[in-house]
Symmetry: C2
Subunit: 150 residues, 2 copies
Amino acid sequence: MLADMVSVSARPRECSIARTLEIVGEKWALLAVREVFLGNGRFDEMVRRTGAPRDTMATRLRALVGTGILERRQYSEHPARFEYHLTEAGRDLYPVILTLMHWGDKHLAGPGGVPLVLEHRCGHRLSAELVCQACGEPVVAEQTRPVRTR
Amino acid sequence: MLADMVSVSARPRECSIARTLEIVGEKWALLAVREVFLGNGRFDEMVRRTGAPRDTMATRLRALVGTGILERRQYSEHPARFEYHLTEAGRDLYPVILTLMHWGDKHLAGPGGVPLVLEHRCGHRLSAELVCQACGEPVVAEQTRPVRTR
DNA sequence: CTGTGTTAGTCCGGAATCTGGACTCACTGT
DNA sequence: ACAGTGAGTCCAGATTCCGGACTAACACAG
């Protein structure tokens, strides 16, 4: 009868981070998405450029289509051929991909510099930064705090 | 003898995203980091609030310490007790965590609204956005392109 | 000093997943 | 007729994951 009291605050948080990771929190899933961002929507090419086992890639792609991040479109009728495209939700993952890349560039760059440079349409080399929409200041952990709701 | 020609462009990309995911590209690892950001550095608490198997959490924490994302500090001598803290590199993961959370808030919010609201020190509810450091414009995938280096 | 808690793990065995490689099927282009 | 491509599937062995039980070392209550 005490079980409930004991388990108060004992269960995992409800959390958007956890929920998101449930869907894309796996190397091959995110690398598949990276490939599509880079313009590679074909199965074989994705396997080649990511290094994922074909089997695993097939499974991940099915899941990503299932959760509405990718869309599988036929681009050739007779030899039936397909290509994966980003949905709206998929495109929204760009910031995730970029922040991961940024972290890797900073903390894991090899001797040859960063592996991939992106250019923004403004003409500069892209270096993206997370800012508060309200005040425009860069966001750092120490300057935010959780708000109690319930 | 043709093997080399055939394999040209056939190997996985070198990529900061892939490298980063090699380290934090796993649910429990990132959720452990989330907990530390939220001020929870104790093992038991982390297990409780993430829902990870204790075993797995122990393994992840070892790895995160090994790669320099967390630091294990003793906070009590006699009953030897430890707490995990973020290193500089760990703190740099904040944007990754935030963009994941933002995506989840937008695409997976339940009926009760988003599970966790953060407040920026500017007083507003935090809604973070990725902008180009050069021009200040929000970054969208279509407005960036890879630059050929090698 | 006995019993109950707390913290930080470890140990275990079965279940689920991952992996690389071979294989398929339906074409196409030479 | 033969090699090639694209999109997978199948397989068996290796690896990881998972939940639950267990340990050790103390603190505090009664």
